[in-house]
């Protein structure tokens, strides 16, 4: 791994965060989350009917490494809105419970703020491939 390629990955991550108003870095995909915390966060976003981009960090460990170095946040999932880290699963759950998440996402309050993850609902946006520069 050359320094250039690592910088390229960092640029791709920062580019994806800049290009997508709501973006979730997760384990697995919205259709098939590979971790309970990622599943729960996806379920909350879907209950809010928020459109979001998703990046699966599992295919390449360097994605997580670069992401955590950039965000100063050690764990996955990580939700970014308008370029800012909102938090991980605990924070998203707490914000949803207190009704603070909807205004952050710019959506209406959902009827049921924190559903249990179903894993069944379709995502609003297809997963992003982080290893390729978007656009």
């Amino acid at each position: 791994m050359t320094e250039n390629a690592e910088n390229g990955l960092r640029d791709a991550i920062q580019g994806a965060i800049a290009d997508n108003e709501v973006i979730l870095f997760m384990k697995g995909t919205p259709e098939q989350p590979m971790c309970g915390f990622s599943a729960r966060t996806v379920a909350i976003l879907q209950a809010h009917e928020a459109a979001f981009a998703a990046v699966d960090i599992l295919p390449d460990p360097r994605i997580r490494q670069e992401l955590s170095a950039f965000s100063n946040w050690p764990t996955i999932p990580q939700l970014f809105v308008k370029g800012e880290l909102v938090g991980g699963c605990d924070i998203i759950t707490e914000l949803a419970d207190s009704g603070q998440l909807a205004p952050i996402l710019g959506v209406e309050q959902p009827a049921e703020p924190t559903p249990e993850p179903t894993g069944g609902a379709a995502p609003k946006a297809p997963p992003i491939q982080i290893d390729r520069p978007s656009e």
């Binding site: 915390f37 997580r64 050690p74 764990t75 996955i76 880290l85 938090g87 991980g88 605990d90 924070i91």
Partner: protein
């Protein structure tokens, strides 16, 4: 007995997490701590959380376990309250 340099099996425990949080944050009390050796959940009440956002409160705890989260401590769920919020 533990010997230095050996790969000693040393899973974290809820009491280890409690002790480290209370030692690191003056006035902090860990009111609940559960875990199975890999996934943990703590409820921390501390005056130091006053005026901090949720993100900043979590960062305070994350820093205590820097380098261990996602590794030795696979996952740490937390709820961080001020004494006032806990009443």
């Amino acid at each position: 007995m533990q010997m230095e340099g050996l790969p000693v099996h040393n899973d974290p425990t809820p009491s280890e997490l409690t002790e480290r949080i209370e030692n690191a944050i003056p006035g902090a009390k860990v009111l609940e701590a559960d875990g199975d050796g890999h996934h943990f959940r703590v409820k921390v009440v501390a005056p130091a959380f006053e005026g901090l956002s949720l993100l900043e409160r979590h960062r305070t705890i994350n820093e205590i376990f820097a380098g261990e989260l996602g590794g030795r401590i696979h996952a740490l769920s937390m709820s961080c309250l001020t004494p006032e919020e806990n009443q």
